[in-house]
Amino acid sequence: MAEPTITLEVWRYRPEQDTTPHLQPYQVPYRPHWVVLDAQNYIKDHLDGSVAYRWSCRMGVCGSCGMTINGVPRLSCAAFLKEYFPRPVRVEPLATFPVERDLIVDLTDFLEKLPAVRPWIVRHEAGPPDAEFRQTPEELEAYRQFSMCINCLLCYAACPVYALEPRFLGPAVLALAARYTLDSRDQGRADRHPVVAGPDGVWDCTFVGECTTVCPKDVDPAGAIQRLKLASALDWLRGVVLPWGRR
């Protein structure tokens, strides 16, 4: 019996020859244990070597293979063909980012915004510590969830605010700001405040919540942003009610 097949409709854009993108269909073998990335690799190896896309680890760790699969931002290494079979699978680049070629998007905007929130442990004492910083399990738990981000940027593709207001720092950058601000070893909260609570920061977020829905690592960027909003509002309130207590 002939092996069943499934159609992959792949978004194609080759800047040297296309002015607008188009969908190109490919028939690939349907194997229930295959993910969309396996089907893409089959196309690359057997049908059309010119299709361009990013991937690396194949196990949801590297964050390279973020794509829009049937309209939803997903990691192509974690989207099984059996979820779609026998319907066709439409594979498009991540929404909201400029497309370099086919499924490859330009992430420069994210990479330029990321350092603005100082995504590292900020210490104001001079020199390295004499011993390791100790943390209780509770202190670790305060930020652990937000440290799971793999920078796959599915959250940016799902965020309509970022699509409409590209200046917005966006979910992953702000989740990382929360990750370090909630870390008991960090002293950089005041340094991050002007950016986090600034015009392109948390207050741009309207809490659509789709960033959290699509996150493959359960980071909950939407929750992180709301908590930063709360902290920022309390800081402001303290400054108004207790101006002498402002730090």
Partner: protein, 133 residues
């Protein structure tokens, strides 16, 4: 054509981006209900304002607010405000990480607390309004 020149393709956002995706549609519906929340607040402020002006002004305002068109508005506004309030509370546990005894309260507990506070506040308001002169 400049072969080899990088020419990223930018997809313009669709004006109806919120249509056809359930989560986005519900979100925009929620945002639109804000208009009714604001309108309801203004209507209630109108009662307070005319009450200060005197009994005649208040009676005239009540007469306007009990017309059929106003009743339709109140009915629509009630649905919108309840939808807004319910979705607001649903979002609350994700915004507030409430810790008791070192442990984070479950979303269900935060939500339960929010509804309990809402019910208590409503009961106080109902008592104030209904207790009579």
């Amino acid at each position: 054509m400049n072969a080899g020149t990088p020419r990223p393709y930018r997809r313009p956002p669709h004006f109806a981006w919120w249509w056809g995706h359930r989560a986005y549609t519900l979100f925009v519906a929620r945002e639109l209900t804000s208009i009714f929340v604001a309108a309801t607040a203004l209507v209630l402020l109108g009662f307070a304002w005319t009450a200060v002006q005197g009994p005649d002004a208040y009676a005239a305002y009540v007469a306007v607010m009990t017309r059929p068109a106003a009743a339709v508005f109140h009915a629509v506004a009630l649905v919108a405000v309840v939808y807004h309030a319910l979705t607001w509370w649903t979002l609350a546990p994700r915004a507030a990480a409430v810790r008791v005894d070192g442990r984070r309260l479950s979303p269900r507990a935060v939500l339960g607390g929010a509804y309990a506070a809402w019910a208590a506040a409503s009961a106080v308001v109902a008592w104030l309004v209904l207790r009579g002169p």
